[in-house]
Symmetry: C2
Subunit: 237 residues, 2 copies
Amino acid sequence: MVENSTFNFSPIAVARTPYKEKFAIPRQPGLVTAAKGKVEFLSPYNNPEMLRDIEQHSHLWLLFIFHGTAGQGWKPLIKAPRLGGNQKTGVLASRSTFRPNPVGMSVVKFDGVETHGKKTCLLISGMDLMDGTPIIDIKPYIPYSDALTEATSEFAPQAQQHDIDVSFAEQALAALSKVANARELKELIFQVLKQDPRPAYKKKDTSWQEYGMALDSYNIRWKISDTTCVVIDISPN
Amino acid sequence: MVENSTFNFSPIAVARTPYKEKFAIPRQPGLVTAAKGKVEFLSPYNNPEMLRDIEQHSHLWLLFIFHGTAGQGWKPLIKAPRLGGNQKTGVLASRSTFRPNPVGMSVVKFDGVETHGKKTCLLISGMDLMDGTPIIDIKPYIPYSDALTEATSEFAPQAQQHDIDVSFAEQALAALSKVANARELKELIFQVLKQDPRPAYKKKDTSWQEYGMALDSYNIRWKISDTTCVVIDISPN
């Protein structure tokens, strides 16, 4: 009987992304296009034949395990960040990570296949995945069946716009000038902070509060008051 | 290490659909809108709180197990029906059911929540799932992040149109007249056969070949030659 069965999944790959911690990961894919990463295949799935013709698709679905929160279990009701974190919504009416089966799906831009010796990787961008996320499946995005223009969602009709004004202090610019990929890193920091990663209840805070995050191989520190954000330091971690 | 971990998933629900066998299931969701069914929750997930606010979404993603084919394993290359079944494509560049982890994702129209005593069901339509499919997760379809109008797919740019001319023979119409939901059943049969469920290599066959399928609680028999299809019998099974 289906009721009593369990299904065992093994990761076929691991995501490598600039997001080293849960804080500051965008809440949906596609918001931070400057986030570039890879999908590294694991043995015995490290076989380029599995990817034949994949370049015919511009976008891919990744099915993955919410490994950062999977140990914390799930609840029937969750607090939706979109509703300020106070109102509760059914877990299956949300994309919360605290699900009965902690599996996520996320669409990413497909940028190419890379081979290092015997290792095969997919190059991807715009992902909202934590570094090290186990991938259990990859499927092409098929526009005619996946892009439902007639679908509606009262709960989340559009992406949230935070209109955060992001600037870089002198110390941060000096640190950037010593980085090989300065332009890319600056754009990544800019796009991530533009999303305003603060918890919803902090967003009206007008005192200058300081935050930090590990992004790519750097520690980023910034100060934010209401909608004005200043990057104050960038240091290797 | 991620490499050596396995993840155990338990079904939270089971799909109840008119498709009693793999043959004749549409190849994508949304093609047969007359297919109506249910998602029946299993204990301990039979809790209506999990569904609070779900009516704010017009469509839902179902993540499920390809239970009909999961026992048959997987291969790195699969024969794509779209390419006539002769050319081979990488399994991860396809939506084939024979995947390393046999998990599927499918979008369905959400028609409401139904409660029978303590049993909770989601009413759905347009699904491409076999009856009895184990569901491991349900997520709302979020148009702004899921409906990628810029995505492209050379492999499958649009739904295949078979332009099959479907008619009903006298014996089939007589059988239909005795059925309580005759109009709905006729429309379902019509939409399913319009998809031309024959294997690709048979589609140019001009001899009148007979086929049968179990659909809803009936056995349907039809004859087809090239693009002309006649339903010859409908009997309870």
